[in-house]
Symmetry: C2
Subunit: 498 residues, 2 copies
């Protein structure tokens, strides 16, 4: 560092005494380089860390001071505390044996972009406050639209998470009921508003119900449609439910279908559901937060068949597209409705460009909008369409291997079709047929596996059946990791059965 | 770089050909170091960039390919495009002559923390998915609570922006009406729900109205209370409006007061408003997103007087606390109500720790929760309480200087008291007294100043009066920058008046 200029060690150590302004530039440079090496080592040696930390609730909190420091502290001390206090309390989402929930991988180009994004600190409230932030968002979101095979009339925007995207979709669905004049009048103090009903499968993500709670539409207004033997929404049951609700005076307004449900990655029959939505005049929102990404692979594109008829669709590049959290995209064919629901321009945000430029604040709740598009741009460019498709294909291949290991083992049972990178299964030793006993065995197996801390598995319930969920979708996961995970599961089952 | 291992130039250049996995570690190291130097230079030379870019709507978009690359591209090419295509389209929020809106400064410790946060890719959905992410959030949020002088019964959580925080507060306010059973029943299909009224001043931020639109409560349910001559909500008018509404059958449920309004940084009389809220049984939410930060300065703590009686309060460390966007904190004395409004735990998110650990997903819309607390921790520790207070004090001092320059100049007029770092003023040359003419002159002055691109000013309306807003709140802004800004304003006025 000294090569770059005059000796600055004094200032570096005395940074805490500077009473105005930022950290001295040479100090930033020093610790920036130090951090790059730290992160490079971390990523390179990630397998030396336990996936799950060996801490109990409250341990990290108790290790930290109860009050903030009166005077500034050195970066040396802060970074040492990262190693000492934070890292041992992390669940390592970047570990290749993270097989729980859905993966989220921070790829290197994504990490570098986030670093740059933090430094630029861009903010696309209005076009003027971030022209490149606004337009790179529009461009990258459109690139991904093309990669997914969605038609050109799908316009998209970046939000934080799928929960937020789905909430925005439900708001747009409600706003599309033009006669209600939601924006001005709202729902209260009126006697003319029938119960607004939303339909989704019993396997839909909890965010659908959370949106309905949040928006004051109520959990009781969510009609959960039963699924078929492959956990897909039954269109006949949907049509019946709508007819029944209309008959009893309710007003259906929205259907949320899923491509890749959270529990079991089932794919609702979108074309049949779209038929019903068109016939009934309902807003169709598709939750493709996880599964949609697979459509990047040309031979998998059919999973989004029918989605071109959806009113809105959410896909999460921060799940299976190697973009660090958070980055969710809400696409809609009806951006004017979204704008009508959310646009509100106070005087202090008016600009000379309002007639010719798109101000992204007009399409959602958050006013401040950080420069998330940068990481999407870096990731799409660095890997390229083919590079992403190859990586996804490899995950699908490993998942099929894992499936074959289950099928070949008489002690285990596959519980659902494997469409993507998630496998639902359970231990089912020959002769053990009591369901309660099986549930208990599998719950103990999950806990035993996770208590080893060198892999992380999660679970779900399929109907009343306790199921283990093994997900393969981390950028750094290779077949050898899945194999090791399988061995650990076998070992733990053996120990439990002794 | 070569010192660290075998020659890797071939792999570095061939990274695009690797068909699985991440960027090779040595390539990450190389570009990481390159980026650190780039960012260090950027921050050091920020004044060489124009604050406002010389681009028109569509310019950046047109400079980018219409479709994503089929094959991966090199980091060299991507980083070159950052310089060539992105930087010239940035509004530089990190420029010390950014005087528009409210500032957001990315301090060096904040930038370093964001880099680390992206690499760790932590996610505090549930405690188990991020013990350190969860607990560091609770600890840092509590540190800030102490710094602001809020009582120990205020619990807080991190969200993206104040708009989102205020939306959550309004949901909690609605949920607190226990008899309505919002969570289950919602607002539709019932004839027993009177109009739910929310009160806020005519100077409140637009996010209050946006929350009401989003939640289906309607703009028409927002009652805007008039302000006094210092732009503060009039408690007498509030009490009258509540009485009038009750008389006409409406149901008041929430008051949103502001400490530091966006237009003019006025401070609503919180103690008097809290009296009314307690008497009337209304939820009091305080928007201290900008102004609250000043309470870190001991002698300014009184600006939050009365806030200890609020039900919820939002403050944004990403505004005037040198934390990069985004990071907003919602405090509430009634976390149980917030949890009641938002908690919904599907089977696949249940963990063994649910009885003993706090799962932050239970308190808001987003399920995924990135590791934002890390940047708050770095900033609070690096600067320390005193270091932050000193920096804020200096901004207040410069703002008072700027105010004195306006007062000493017969061509200008101060339009509002200066409580914090924002000054509302206008050119008002002697003899020009037609209000339309003055509005037009000041609008032209704003445009002329911003068209120079070496400073960025924004505007508002105070009643019918067009006002210029000069904000001093960037970490890197010194008196010399404010002085230069003042000179530029004088120059442009002179040119317009010739």
């Amino acid at each position: 560092m000294k090569k770059k200029g005059p000796p600055v060690d004094h200032e570096v150590n005395a940074g805490v005494n500077v009473s105005v302004g930022d950290m001295p530039p040479e100090e930033f440079r020093k610790y920036g380089h130090q951090l790059v090496d730290w992160v490079a080592d971390y990523l390179q040696n990630i397998e030396r860390y336990p996936v799950l930390p060996n801490v109990l609730p409250g341990d990290v909190r108790r290790s930290l001071p109860a009050s903030p420091p009166e005077d500034g502290e050195t970066m040396d001390k802060i970074l040492a505390d990262v190693d000492r206090l934070i890292i041992p309390g992390m669940t390592h989402w970047n570990h290749p044996r993270f097989h729980a929930y859905f993966n989220s991988s921070a790829s290197s180009p994504g990490i570098l972009a986030e670093f740059l994004s933090a430094a630029l600190n861009g903010n696309a409230m209005v076009w003027q406050s971030g022209p490149a932030v606004t337009e790179l968002e529009e461009v990258t979101v459109d690139w991904l639209r093309q990669m997914l095979g969605l038609p050109a009339d799908f316009w998209g925007m970046i939000l934080d998470t799928a929960s937020t995207s789905t909430l925005h979709a439900v708001v747009a669905a409600r706003e599309s009921l033009a006669d209600l004049n939601m924006r001005e009048q709202g729902l209260t103090g009126r006697k003319d508003i029938p119960r607004l009903r939303l339909y989704t499968s019993e396997f839909a993500h909890s965010s659908v119900e959370k949106a309905m709670m949040t928006l004051g539409l109520g959990l009781g207004s969510v009609c959960k449609i039963p699924v078929d033997e492959q956990f897909r929404m039954r269109p006949d049951a949907l049509a019946e439910a709508i007819a029944r609700d209309r008959h009893s005076g309710m007003r259906p307004f929205c259907v949320v279908a899923t491509v890749g449900t959270t529990s079991v990655t089932s794919i609702d029959p979108i074309p049949a559901i779209a038929d019903i939505c068109e016939r009934e005049g309902l807003w169709l929102h598709v939750d493709a937060a996880y599964g949609g990404t697979a459509a990047i692979i040309p031979e998998m594109r059919s999973i989004l068949a029918g989605c071109e008829r959806a009113d809105s669709l959410v896909v999460n590049p921060h799940k299976w597209m190697f973009v660090p959290v958070d980055l969710s995209i809400l696409y809609t064919r009806r951006p004017k409705i979204l704008r009508q629901a959310f646009s509100l321009v106070p005087e202090y945000l008016r600009t000379a460009h309002d007639d010719v430029a798109r101000n992204l604040m007009d399409y959602g709740v958050p006013l401040g909008r950080r420069f998330r598009a940068l990481k999407l741009w870096f990731v799409l460019r660095y890997f390229g369409v083919n590079g992403l498709a190859n990586r996804l294909r490899e995950h699908l291949r490993i998942a099929q291997s894992f499936k074959s290991w289950i099928e070949a083992d008489p002690e285990f049972e596959l519980l659902a079709p494997v469409h993507f990178g998630a496998i639902c299964f359970r231990a089912h030793p020959p002769g053990v047929d009591d369901e309660n006993q099986l549930d208990s065995l599998n719950e103990r197996l999950l806990n035993a596996v996770n208590e080893r801390r060198d892999m992380f598995l999660s679970h779900t319930k399929l109907g009343r059946t306790y199921a283990l969920r093994m997900v393969i979708g981390h950028l750094r996961t290779e077949e050898v990791h899945a194999k090791k995970a399988w061995e650990l599961i076998l070992q733990e089952l053996k120990r439990l059965r002794v």
